[in-house]
Subunit: 409 residues, 2 copies
Amino acid sequence: MDPARLTPMPTSPISRRGLFGYAGAAGVGGAAGIVGGRAWGLSDAPTPEPPNRVLGQDYSPYGAQQAGIFTPQSQVAELVAFDLLPATDASALGRLMRVWTGDIAALMSGRPAAGDFAPELAQANVSLTALVGFGPGVFELEGLGPSLPAGFQEIPAMTHDRLEDRWNGGDLLIWVTADDATSVSHAVRRLVSDARPFASRRWTQRGFWRPTDASGAAVTGRNLFGQVDGSANPKGDVLEETVLSTDGWLAGGTQLVVRRIEMNLDTWDEATRDRQEASMGRRLSDGAPLTGESEGDDLDLAATADGSTVIALDAHARLAHPSQNRERRMLRRGLNYTHETVVDGAPVDTSGLIFCAFQANIADQFIPVQRSLDQADALNEWTTAIGSAVFVIPPGFSEGGYVGETLLG
Amino acid sequence: MDPARLTPMPTSPISRRGLFGYAGAAGVGGAAGIVGGRAWGLSDAPTPEPPNRVLGQDYSPYGAQQAGIFTPQSQVAELVAFDLLPATDASALGRLMRVWTGDIAALMSGRPAAGDFAPELAQANVSLTALVGFGPGVFELEGLGPSLPAGFQEIPAMTHDRLEDRWNGGDLLIWVTADDATSVSHAVRRLVSDARPFASRRWTQRGFWRPTDASGAAVTGRNLFGQVDGSANPKGDVLEETVLSTDGWLAGGTQLVVRRIEMNLDTWDEATRDRQEASMGRRLSDGAPLTGESEGDDLDLAATADGSTVIALDAHARLAHPSQNRERRMLRRGLNYTHETVVDGAPVDTSGLIFCAFQANIADQFIPVQRSLDQADALNEWTTAIGSAVFVIPPGFSEGGYVGETLLG
Ligand code: HEM
Ligand code: HEM
């Protein structure tokens, strides 16, 4: 173990108090923490400071939430959506969830899953997390309809959308992250292969993030426009209120929106730096609001200079700000992507953001914010949603339990 | 700086003596080493032990060789091949090389390149390397034909090839690696964008590798079959003799073969572990030869048990072994890939190896070995080359110089 990992991190993305409080309230077995290192997040014991280096950890598969929601961001991620096969009913889905739970428990601990074809690729200390979600199709299965969580729905069409079916929808989701792409692809392969009797792969999205700075300390990270992305994410008690459902079987779980958003880097590059910063309302250098000093400062939306607001009326960070959205928030965990295809025989290279946001209620949180961004966001000039999917993320599970048991059990 | 990086590494992939010897002989300015850390490889001072952690370094852009040949493997890589535009002559190519050299010198040091659109994405300590290569088309430019290096040629068609034009060829290559995909994509974007007046993108291949074990120590790494891949790479004096050209302007440079080789993981999984190991002649658990104890042992091709050779006659490691190939060797630096496309509306996910091999002379080294593998290799059952490209890799450059100057200067 790298001793540097055990030194305190200057800014924790998650308030310890907040998560600790929730763990007490929910009491679902153990905690999503680091195995064989220091605990991260939920714990019964006094929670230590999170580690300085977020690279190279084992996270516990067990806890009040599935790992991959509150755990620190890793470097590499793969999201796979599946279509249920016609024969898969609720009880078959329950069998798949038990199989996946076994896989996840092993792989997150750096152990091969049962029947693993390449057991040596199950490696420890790569910060592997694997999250399972249910798409709308699950609630069309006989008997499950009445369990549809409040506010869980597809995103209505937006003016700026150019959705392609190949990136849309899905009845099931797995979202695997780690600090190593070989480990991610090995875990994904195991999960896809075990799903074969029940569901077929619909789409795969691969993304990456840099969650540390040059010294290895945890930072917010940047998208491919160069913007610091994730700064204003909710923290502390607000984080839980924002993300965690209290609704029936989903209590302690959450809802996830995945939008594949293409970013036109060529036209972005043509804009001046001033215009780029004005479109966001934040500085490119350090992510601080144009009205503030440092990344953590809140926006001052009323501040004016030379007779107009410092943060433009169409600035993304203004329009997305809770004060403009009846205090609606979400937890964003974006991933950068680059993708290479051939169109009419010519190679086309695209870049963008796999926008991922957790919230308790999609209808009440993501959708209204997305509507106001769709109307006026200055960023729309350079960004286009080309894929859209929604998933219910069941609460975590403890040893002996399985993912989705509160719905399917 | 992480103190763990400064502790000695148990097995060095490169013999210090060998590289040190070469530096003395070649004397081309500085050395490809670590800036602000310990030197790696070539140096005038006594060479220290290489670092334990290979993650998170700055490598020097200057040295007898371009970085990315002898530097330790990083986690993420992107290879981009270009077609020269019709108007690009030798002197325009020289201008592009000067621009690229400036970009590379800045980006490898974690500094934005001149005119960088997203300067904050130029990050230090991500082990960035960027290598430039010349395809056959360069030697068709007026005046350059006589400089075609001995043995530099396309790979002849092999029986098992199923080459697709989209992965073939290229007049220029950049090969960028780092421990962070955002840094790689930023650097690639800069280099592609600066090439626009001279060359257009032909193909992009993205790959990944895990060059460390769970404790962070440098290891050989595994391909997606789960095999330890790279064990028998040449070391010490043999490494230089294998890789480095002594031929005219290319002296100190090398030649590179890039083969995109699809690996059928589904049928591989169906084979028993015994059969998988027999097809290679090495163990899956630790990469040791079936006749040996540990990864570093040489194969005993004569050893028999129950009347037949322990290492099968069609085993990949036997057929590729120098003793079977008149002592021909190469330095392999493979990258795993996963790739997702849509065929007839259905998502297709493929996996494989971006096989990359450096050698002094392609005609004399890669081609005969490839021919004997094509004839008899047991691995052929699961592997298919779908892309093929060759590049001359000019020697390194020192401050004030530029990549390719011995050809174009
Ligand atoms: C490619 C598209 C997008 C990019 C590049 C982008 C980028 C950013 C950046 C740089 C920030 C400021 C720093 C931060 O707080 O993270 C931000 C804030 C935010 N964005 Fe986006 N965003 C995109 C799409 C969206 C979408 C689709 C939504 C939701 C519908 C959204 C919701 C938000 C929210 C809620 C905030 C925080 C505002 C605050 O509390 O101050 N973003 N975004
Ligand atoms: C997907 C295709 C391939 C896979 C999975 C693969 C895998 C391996 C593995 C696992 C080894 C043993 C460990 C090591 O020494 O690295 C090896 C050795 C080797 N392979 Fe491959 N290989 C592939 C294609 C090729 C090709 C196309 C060539 C050259 C034409 C090649 C040349 C070699 C050589 C020279 C050795 C070292 C033999 C020795 O010195 O003992 N391989 N390969």
